[in-house]
Amino acid sequence: MKRLLILMFVAIILPAAALGQTKQINEILDKYEKKKSVESIVISPSLLQIAGTSDVNASTKELLSKIKELRIINIKTSAMESGVPLWTSLKGELEKHTSSDLFTRIVRIQDGEELLEMFITKNTEGALLFYTTTPKEFSVISIFGSIDKTVINAAMSGGIKIK
């Protein structure tokens, strides 16, 4: 009985918490897109394509159907707010969530002054986040939806492209 209750708790609470995290990340991005020196792009999956597939076949359709939205936030590193670089504030707010137990960092690539970090929610229904930091700008690329192995592999192999 106890096991059943624990399983029920895990089955109900964890997805809800992951969805809550996704919502909170969206709220943070909403907040920052209203600020100066910030560019925000929101794209629906119909405007995405999978690399190497010129036509929309069944597997591409299936993969794209898992993605609900792609969202990009781009901040110039020179942008300041109250004496603090704006990008550090955004990264700090996002890291409060991505450093929690609900996210896992799967990639960290440091190449000279460029840094790429990739995070995924532990639960399938959630988000895949990329942080890229260069001397000129800081970008957050977030893919919301059902982030399973096929979506992660497509993202890792550079397969998700804009039409």
């Binding site: 897109e33 209203k34 600020k35 100066k36 020196s37 910030v38 560019e39 925000s40 792009i41 929101v42 794209i43 629906s44 119909s46 405007l47 609900k68 939205e69 792609l70 990009i72 781009n74 990639v107 690539i109 190449d111 460029e114 790429l116 990329f130 890229t132 260069t134 970008s139 690329i141 890792m156 192999s157 550079g158 998700i160 492209k161 804009i162 039409k163």
Partner: protein, 189 residues
């Protein structure tokens, strides 16, 4: 038309209160006539007055009838309206349900995440309606990630080939170890 003798007779009976209603009507009808003997003229105003009064009463009766007809009509209308009210109510409910469904659809459209061919570009907090620019900027970002991930893939491939080399070297090592052991044993012999 009653003869003068009959009218004189009826008048006598009238003043004796012996006439019937029909006979009184005959007298009144007679006095409506203009050719009345002089000796009977004095009764003319009396019976004409009665006639006029009756006519007025008749008219009021007609008016009453008319009014009652009007009232009936109004009652009919009211009852018809009352009969029709469920229909009116049904119609209003139908429109209300349609309005509710429409507002729900609008609400859902506004609240739910947008699906389909949607694209939004915001620069400095201002919506920019430029699809080409938005797609170009998004493409740049995706290319930047893909290029960094490409470098990562190259590094991981190099690591993989190095580990393969390590595996191959480890088998050579084991062969050399075996050969060394054999040399040592030969030396001991």
């Amino acid at each position: 038309m009653a003869t003068i003798e009959k009218v004189r007779d009826l008048l006598e009976r009238y003043f004796n209160a012996e006439t019937t209603l029909n006979e009184e009507q005959i007298i009144r009808d007679y006095f409506k006539n203009d050719s009345i003997p002089d000796d009977l003229l004095i009764y003319k105003p009396l019976f004409n007055c009665f006639s006029e009064e009756i006519e007025r009463l008749d008219l009021s009766g007609e008016k009453l009838d008319h009014n009652s007809e009007k009232l009936d009509h109004t009652v009919e209308e009211v009852s018809r309206k009352r009969e029709g009210s469920p229909f009116v109510r049904r119609v209003s409910f139908k429109w209300m349900s349609l309005a509710a469904a429409a507002s729900l659809a609008i609400f859902t459209y506004l609240i739910m995440p947008q699906k389909g061919d949607s694209l939004r570009l915001v620069i400095d907090g201002v919506n920019v309606n430029n699809k080409t620019l938005a797609l170009g900027k998004a493409d740049d970002q995706m290319n930047q990630i893909n290029s960094m991930l490409g470098r990562y893939r190259k590094s991981s491939e190099q690591l993989e080939s190095m580990s393969k080399m390590g595996d191959a070297l480890s088998s050579l090592n084991s062969i050399s170890r075996v050969m060394t052991q054999k040399e040592e044993s030969n030396r001991l012999d």
